[in-house]
Point group: C2
Chain length 93, copies 2
Amino acid sequence: MPDVTINHCEKAHALLKADADKILRLIEVQIENLTMPQCPVYEDVLDTQMFGLSREIDFAVRLNLITEEEGRNLLENLEKKLNILHEASQKSL
Amino acid sequence: MPDVTINHCEKAHALLKADADKILRLIEVQIENLTMPQCPVYEDVLDTQMFGLSREIDFAVRLNLITEEEGRNLLENLEKKLNILHEASQKSL
């Protein structure tokens, strides 16, 4: 039943996307609640979350559940969105 | 081909075990090179590595590649070994 394998791949993609979205929402909430993006706690939270996600992605790549390129794209995509959020919050200050 | 699925499970177990062993070796090297276990850098490295591994384990559990209990055992096992290493290094000071 190759279905199960496809499910592992699909599920890995879905989980990683959900985790990336969770980081984005976390940062959105932090910005909405006016925690300064310059605040060290904000940087710490973001660094920790990004590190955690990168470890998950690396693990999925090593399991051949996603390709290296997909993993890289996922992180780059998240970073782009975070930058947009960050810039928007700077302008509204 | 259910083989592929079994391989994902087996590979997940092997990767997680290898990652746990890597942390153990890293700490061994740090202790052998006389970096004090009380040193903040030592604590930081350990915390970061343990966090990374716990994220990988959590991801594998969510993918149903390992059970929650297996994941817990893996972390507890590593912590036990790290404690033994730590205690041995204290005695030899």
